[in-house]
């Protein structure tokens, strides 16, 4: 028998292939990991970080809209929000294809001297972070640096903010709150401040004609001293800057400007005509704005006094208590005779010392008419009177007597008619060529405002259409820009909570 034995020496091809695949896979895996990390950062984390701010600011807009309703539509303000602990909160709102969500908390944190509420809006926006959470963040920058960790603060497993500072960020109620998916939340705090009505000498939503050719509008600041007519033409006077704010703002292209304006003129698409060289400030014909209709403020918290309900030729009001700007003594007047004379005296201490006294009167009829001497208003110092009227207003300029000389102490508000076919009017005449004027402010956004004659006025006016044909001397008090009832809100502070 013959036995054949063959020995074949071969390399293991399979092992070589597997090793090669392993090496290539390691390289590929490393490349893929780097690519996914970069992709996660660039496409997902950065995007989510920016989108979460978008969501937070959207929440701010939603809350701001509710704050505005407290003035423009009080019955529907915060109607679907929850009120607890002095703050309004809403349920999270989800929107957009990226499922962004936002929620807000609003609380009135301050009341100014006019009794207007200032609102703090704290809002949170959350954006989901797509991609594998195991990939983590891009922190590869250096041995002692942390890259994105300090900036983007992604919640991979738990909400870091609630765990550290509590849900409201005030250190109360910290808890470990798991998140279903990785997310980024950003928080901003906004302050909504009331817009008071008298930020310009004259503000008209419609047409403007006036003043007389020898008239002028200038300004001063009563908190730095009394009005001085020489300041407006004396640039070396330290009060000069305050004398150049007699600004006229018109939301119309129809404007015929006469006289001298020591301030700016703004129109909405207009071409300011006639003597425009006598305007000391800038002329901007592209400044549109909106004047909201004025509605009667809520009187629920005011101190209602039932008498008097009628103003006769000799009516005097002396409140028993001084009240406050937020809670004035409130009178409802249903009859104001044509020659009615209303005097409001301050409340006093037991020793007869006058107190700063706040009075609000709602007149549901016309005040004055085109016949007779017209009604009169007299307030001594220490009285802060607000007159709200539903109808028309007509009197002589000299019939308005404000002894303090500060226009903010005598405020007239024309409640805008709900019927658009009804045109409210305010007429102020100067009888017999009198230059006697007054210190007062008028906020009548629905009224056609007319001034005849050449009275010397200190104050501000907001109206629909404005007409004046006399040589009025008009002094706008810059201190008025913080006076009066809120007519709207604006956001004046923004800060991001970067914790």
């Amino acid at each position: 028998m013959q036995i054949s034995q063959r020995t074949v020496a071969r390399g293991n091809v399979l092992l070589c292939v597997l090793c090669t695949i392993l090496v290539v896979s390691l390289i590929g895996g490393n490349v893929l990991l780097n690519c996914v990390t970069r992709y996660n950062v660039a496409s997902s984390q950065v995007r989510s970080w920016k989108e979460s701010l978008d969501a937070a600011e959207t929440g701010g807009d939603i809350a701001y809209a509710e704050v505005r309703k407290t003035i423009l539509d009080p019955t529907h303000a915060f109607s679907s929000w929850t009120y607890s602990g002095g703050a309004y909160t809403n349920s999270p709102v989800t929107y957009g294809t990226d499922n962004l969500s936002t929620s807000s908390r609003v609380d009135p944190f301050y009341y100014d001297g006019n009794g207007n509420a200032w609102y703090r809006i704290r809002t949170k926006g959350t954006a989901p972070v797509l991609g594998l959470k195991r990939v983590g963040m891009d922190d590869r920058m250096g041995p002692n640096t942390r890259g994105d960790s300090l900036l983007r603060k992604i919640d991979f497993n738990y909400d870091h903010f609630v765990a550290t500072y509590g849900p409201n960020g005030d250190g109360i109620g910290e808890t470990l709150l798991p998140v279903s998916n990785p997310q980024i939340s950003r928080r901003v705090e906004l302050i909504a401040a009331p817009i008071t009505p008298f930020e310009a000498a004259i503000k008209a939503g419609g047409t403007f004609y006036g003043l007389g050719s020898a008239a002028y509008i200038d300004s001063f600041r009563s908190t730095t001293g009394p009005y001085d007519a020489s300041v407006k033409t004396n640039p070396s006077d330290p009060r000069y800057a305050d004398s150049q704010a007699g600004t006229v703002e018109l939301d119309s292209s129809v404007a015929t400007i006469m006289g001298y304006i020591y301030g700016n003129v703004y129109t909405n698409g207009g071409t300011v005509t006639k003597n425009t060289t006598s305007i000391s400030g800038i002329i901007d014909n592209n400044v549109p704005f909106t004047i909201s209709p004025f509605i009667m403020p809520s009187t629920a918290s005011w101190n209602y006094v039932s008498s008097p309900a009628t103003v006769t030729p000799n009516t005097t009001i002396t409140p028993a208590a001084p009240g406050s700007a937020a809670q004035p003594n409130y009178y409802l007047v249903t009859s104001f005779v044509n020659n009615g004379s209303l005097t409001v005296n301050p409340a006093t201490t037991a020793n007869g010392v006058p107190l700063e006294t706040y009075v609000a009167i709602h007149v549901t009829t016309d005040i004055g008419s085109s016949t007779g001497q017209g009604p009169s208003f007299t307030i001594p110092a220490h009285v802060h009177l607000e007159v709200y009227f539903d109808g028309n207003f007509q009197t002589k300029a000299e019939n308005i007597v404000n002894t303090s000389g500060y226009a903010g102490n005598l405020q007239f508000y024309g409640i805008t008619p709900t019927d658009p076919t009804v045109q409210q009017t305010v007429n102020l005449n100067s009888g017999g060529g009198s230059t006697a004027g007054f210190a007062a402010v008028f906020y009548t956004p629905g009224a056609n405002f007319t001034i005849n004659g050449g009275p010397d006025l200190t104050g501000a006016i907001v109206c629909k259409n404005f007409y004046a044909n006399g040589n009025v001397h008009w002094h706008y008090d810059r201190a008025l820009d913080s006076e009066g009832d809120a007519v709207d809100y604006r956001v004046i502070s923004y800060v991001e909570d970067i914790r």
Binding site: S4, R38, G171, I191, S493, V495, R499
Partner: protein, 210 residues
């Protein structure tokens, strides 16, 4: 019985060896060259993306502070930015923190003041603000707030942020560009730097002070 052992041990002829060695050397050289090139390319690309991420981070840091800022000032060489931001969070050493150490890290309730330029909201009893400075130190971009320095970006690619602040009627905006020189390029040509430019513009949300 006769055993027949057949051992097929085949060798190479010298010519076969020379040919195979030549071919394998060429293949190996090509493989090594390709591998090194791939590795360098990967490292360069990885570094480029890494630096690009830091560009984005610089912009995001800066814009976040500009948005909540009260005023922004840039240096003459445009490479240093100083801004004032509200003192929103109570820090150690603040009066509130001394009165109540638990208050550290918590937000303040703002106060309201009327000034000649209008109403002002302050997050500090003395109306002071926090100063944040962005600057370059060597290869690093630093952010300094209340004396605390944070390195927000660091790269051998010579990251250079440049910011200009533009005053507007009531507000302000900051235009920022960040460039770098990728390490895999040579010569430091201007075009290589400008090709990496990243631009951003951010507006103050607050009314400018000053």
């Amino acid at each position: 019985m006769k055993l027949k052992t057949s051992q097929s041990i085949a060798g190479f002829t010298l010519s076969e060896m020379l040919v195979s060695l030549s071919l394998s050397s060429i293949v190996l050289a090509a493989a090594i060259t390709s591998g090194v090139a791939l590795q360098k390319s990967f490292a360069a690309t990885d570094n480029y993306f890494s630096t690009e991420m830091q560009q984005i981070r610089i912009i995001d840091y800066l814009n976040r502070d500009v948005k909540r800022g009260l005023i922004v000032t840039t240096s003459v060489d445009l490479q240093s930015v100083t801004m004032r931001v509200p003192k929103y969070i109570i820090q150690a050493g603040d009066p509130e923190a001394i009165a109540d150490p638990e208050a550290i890290g918590m937000p303040r309730t703002p106060t309201v003041a009327y000034t000649p330029s209008g109403w002002q909201v302050n997050y500090s009893p003395d109306t002071s603000t926090t100063t944040v400075v962005y600057s370059i130190s060597g290869n690093s971009i630093l952010r300094t707030e209340n004396g605390v320095v944070t390195t927000i970006a660091s790269s051998t690619d010579q990251l250079v942020p440049q910011t200009t602040d533009v005053d507007l009627a009531n507000t302000e905006c900051a235009n920022t560009s960040v460039t770098f020189s990728p390490i895999f390029t040579s010569g430091g040509a201007v075009a290589e730097r400008t090709g990496t430019s990243l631009y951003a513009t951010a507006y103050l949300r607050n009314k400018r002070r000053g």
